[in-house]
């Protein structure tokens, strides 16, 4: 069965190609079928392979598959190959599984839209690229998936291309992430030249063997990889694309935030943890970046009125948690949270989508209100998602994964304690901002008219994801809670360090923070009509996410645009124009001597002769 591993990325790719070329000829129904079935089949195969993997692990815990030799130049070769180990297995399952449900949801959500087939073509490609990314055995193949993900995000964020703003957001997403990608690529060049290979496993081995701990080289490599991860995972300071990426259709947001794209950075760092272990400074930086991002994003989420933007900032914040985990070496916790986050964030986006699709795509939470009665399915889904996000203790997956991270941080010495504090503050803020949305949007007075009804393609994904958000955490419980270690057992062959907290105090403290956040939200926003606070400078500061966009605009974008504009005609060309001008001037100057006057001509003759004689005589 494992030999069909290549089908997992190939099927969505095939679906994408068929849809791309055939979208003009296919009916909406067929397009949806192809789009969903390709991912569904991939998910099924992934599930079967995973089952086989768990039940009958291959030798060494790794299954590898070489498809073809990509290129072989001067002793340097890159193979297109796949690698299945517990880490990629987890990612594969999450991506294909969550991806499938998002696809299913999208078939209904996107009904009646222009370019239905094109949408699914891109969506399929997105999943295919992500699967390639996670399954890649070679850094360059991983990079291919990495870029493919970036491309698809561009295509999908700008899906409604009729509005130039969407295009702008899409371009911003691509270019900002590409800055990180370029750093990543340079890191790859460094790996290739220093370690002589781009095969991930052998590169890690060689790094371990040849590079010293904290040597400048390995630190540099780690930082460059971190650059890539920051870009894709929307961490500081390359995070500005993510809120704007909400311009895309809601299923796209779900896909970007839950199953693909933003998790790639986390995956990359987990994948290359050997390097980060060798470079403690880089690893700590990961944690710092994560902590800063989770705080910044958390506070920014407090000041948003657009339901999707709140979710976008919450994603940044949650990825920040994962970075914190990576920073403290709680690799498994990061992956655990990644998985849990995939469930509840997909759920949140889909339920938000379910809300907006009934409200004529109204996304301002202050224009909603009282929806819990009108849209019970969406309300309950959103509520479960919110609970998981704010890590409501005991019953949600988010609680267990976040606790794993915080205990990991707590266990990591002084530096870890600092990160732990940030995490706890973040947990409090998370509770506040997400329940602010819940209270404003779903309770209070009704402001809008609700129309239509849901089909099964909306309801089923919501139910499934709700379930997973609630019970998905039970695969890994902390020692204090029964000590289930399914996940850490699985990952133990690839990722070092055990999962889970050993002490109870910090755990209780964090739980308290989450709950108090919810309570504060309830206190503040139960009566949402008085709660608008747009005017205060503080609100505006956080609404603009601390002004990073403004800063970049002012100091990076504008200068480049200015330079491009003033140099549109290429000042170097002016040099040549100058030469031409001088030549023409020379022409007109010498032409004046051709006056037609014979005596002048004779004077020329005489002058020439005089000069020649002078040269002859004077030497």
């Amino acid at each position: 069965m494992r030999e069909f591993l290549w089908l997992v990325p190939a099927l969505p790719l095939l679906g994408s190609v068929i849809l791309m070329f055939g979208s003009a000829h296919l009916s909406v129904r067929t397009a949806a079928m192809i789009g969903v079935l390709s991912v569904g089949l991939a998910a099924l195969i992934a599930f079967v392979i995973s089952a086989g993997f768990v039940l009958d692990p291959p030798v060494g815990g790794v299954y590898q598959q070489t498809l073809w030799r990509w290129f072989h130049v001067g002793g340097f070769s890159v193979d297109v190959g796949l690698r299945l180990d517990p880490l990629s297995l987890l990612m594969m399952l999450v991506t294909s599984g969550v991806g499938f449900f998002i696809h299913l949801f999208a078939t209904e959500f996107m009904e009646g839209e222009q370019g239905y087939g094109r949408f699914f073509a891109h969506l399929n490609l997105f999943v295919a690229a992500m699967l390639l990314l996670v399954l890649a055995r070679n850094f360059l193949v991983l990079y291919a998936g990495w870029e493919g993900v970036g491309l698809c995000s561009y295509l999908l964020i700008g899906f409604w291309w009729g509005d130039p703003l969407n295009g702008l957001a899409a371009r911003k997403a691509f270019i900002v992430t590409r800055i990180g990608d370029t750093a990543f690529l340079i890191g790859l060049l460094l790996i290739a030249t220093r370690l002589g290979t781009l095969n991930i496993a052998s590169a890690m081995t060689r790094a371990h063997e040849t590079l010293h701990v904290a040597s400048p080289m390995v630190t540099l490599i780690a930082f460059l990889l971190l650059g890539g991860a920051i870009g894709k995972s929307a961490q500081l300071p390359l995070h500005t694309w993510l809120p704007d990426a909400m311009a895309g259709p809601t299923p796209v947001s779900a896909l970007i935030h839950a199953a693909t794209m933003v998790t790639a950075g986390v995956y990359l760092i987990a994948r290359t943890h050997v390097l980060f272990l060798l470079a403690p400074i880089a690893q700590f930086t990961v944690g710092i970046v994560g902590a800063l991002t989770l705080l910044l994003a958390g506070f920014s989420a407090l000041a948003q009125n657009d339901i999707k933007r709140v979710l976008a900032y919450s994603t940044m914040s949650q990825i920040g948690y994962m970075f914190v985990a990576l920073g403290v070496g709680a690799w498994g916790a990061a992956m655990f949270h990644l998985m849990a986050h995939a469930f509840f964030k997909a759920l949140l986006f889909l339920s938000a989508g379910a809300v907006t699709m009934r409200l004529h795509h109204e996304q301002d939470i202050f224009k909603m209100g009282g929806l819990w009665r009108r849209l019970p399915v969406a309300f309950w889904s959103f509520l479960i998602g919110s609970a998981a996000l704010s890590a409501l203790p005991l019953v949600t997956a988010g609680f267990y994964s976040k606790e794993a991270i915080l205990s990991g941080a707590w266990a990591d010495g002084t530096r870890g304690r600092v990160l732990w504090c940030a995490g706890v503050v973040g947990a409090f803020v998370t509770g506040v901002y997400i329940f602010r949305v819940v209270f404003i949007a779903f309770f209070g007075e009704e402001h809008t008219h609700v129309s239509g009804s849901y089909g099964w393609r909306v309801i089923v994904p919501l139910i499934v994801l709700s379930t997973l958000s609630l019970v998905g955490g039970f695969i890994q419980l902390p020692p204090a809670f029964g000590h289930i270690t399914l996940l850490s057992d699985l990952l133990s062959t690839v990722l070092p360090a055990p999962l889970g907290a050993t002490t109870v105090m910090p755990l209780l403290f964090a739980s308290f923070a989450s709950i108090s956040g919810i309570v504060v939200a309830a206190a503040l926003y139960w009566r949402p009509t008085h709660a608008r606070a747009d005017a205060t400078p503080l609100w505006r500061f956080w609404h603009a996410a601390a002004g990073f966009d403004w800063l970049y605009d002012r100091f990076l974008v504008c200068p480049v645009l200015w330079a491009a504009r003033i140099d549109r005609d290429d000042f170097i060309d002016k040099i040549y124009s100058g030469i031409v001008w001088v030549t023409r001037a020379g022409h007109f100057a010498v032409r004046r001597t051709q006056s037609g006057r014979v005596r002048l001509y004779a004077a020329g003759l005489a002058l020439g002769s005089i000069c020649l004689i002078a040269i002859a005589v004077l030497r």
Binding site: V590, A602, S609, A616, V617
Partner: protein, 480 residues
Amino acid sequence: MMTAAAFRAFAPFTLLGALTIVVMLLIAVRRDHRLTALSTIIGLSLCCVVLLFSAPASPVPVTPLFIVDGTALFYAGLVLGSALIVAIISYAYLASSGHAAREEYYLLLLTATLGAAVLPESIDFTSFFLGIEVLSISLLGLIAYASPRQGAAEAGTKYLVLSGAASAFLLFGMALIYAEVGTMSFVRIGVEAHTGDPADLYRLVGVAMILTGVGFKLSLVPFHMWTPDVYEGAPAPVTAFVAVVSKIAVFSVILRYFNLAESHADTSLRLGLEAVAILSMLGGNLLALLQNNVKRLLAYSSIAHLGYLLVGFLAADSLGNMAVAYYLAAYAVTTLGAFGIVALLSVPGTGRDADQIENYRGLFRTHPFLAGGLTLMLLSLAGMPPTMGFIGKFYLVAAGVDSRLFWPVVALVVGSVIGLYYYSRVLVAMAMPIEHVPVRRAAAPLFGKAVIAALLVLLVTLGVYPAPAIAVIRVAVGHG
């Protein structure tokens, strides 16, 4: 006094002289344009044929004034061949004019050719000077010919005055040298120059003044100013003659003088010549840059081409001599073709030739063959493959590089680039659609086109496969 071998070797030129007399007598008997033209053409062809037969007899001295050797025969052949082509084109040109006295034209053409043809053989100041003057006086008549044309008399006057002054310089220079060394024979001047006083001021100044005179005939900067005016004022075939035949002849004789009298050794003269070469290349091309009159444009470009030739001249070795020979051949074919096409397009009765650049608009549509021909000619002038001009320029640059003539080669490159601009202006004009009322154009006669076709074949064949021509040149001038 003259041996049989000398007679045989000199036969083409004797024949040419006789031909002149015969044509003159023919005109006296019966004024008939076609007859005169035909006898001229046949006679010139005959001279060319005879020339081939005198080759085996060479090298042989003919009186102290001349020597018939490979170099001489090669250039004489170029002169005679070019004259023949000019004669044919002239017939096409004059046939369409209503001018009454067209016959003397051929007479003057023949005397001019004679003057030009004896120059390559000259090894003495007397023959040098006489050849140039026979050529110049005949040209004076030709330039002012067909006088209803605007500017013909003006062009003639300018040529008269300036040519006279140039001749005076030339003669004075010769006299100075004669005063210094006591001989007018090139070879003996060379000997004297070697044995005589190194500070021979008379000789140096003499050569400088000779160069003034020759520079005028070759229209080198700064002695060039007459060129465009005369080219414009003269009938197109005469322009071709001035541009080609007189240039080849004068260049060959000055080349001979410098080779024999070994003035190349003199650094100060070389400096002067380098300056003249550079000025000619740059000045000629600059002057042509935005020129709207095709004849003037070609005149300016010929100034530049003579400047290019000076690079080979300055190289002053076997390679340089061969380069000059090939380039002159290429220049002859190309310039004859270009002016030939101008002549074929002109209607002599209208007062001016087809010399405005507007006249060439849409030529590709109305005269595709001539337009295509002119395109190739201009490409050759610009030194682009697959034409003789390309090989020629290559050869010259080779000679220049081999002799380490840094600045002249730089000027050649710069000049060529400028040249490209104005040649392509004409090319572009021919391809443009006709906007205004079409200019009156002659319907070129078939034999005129045939001449152009022959030139084109030569141009391309020797441009793609120049080995035979180079072999001939190597035999003729390679060891000169």
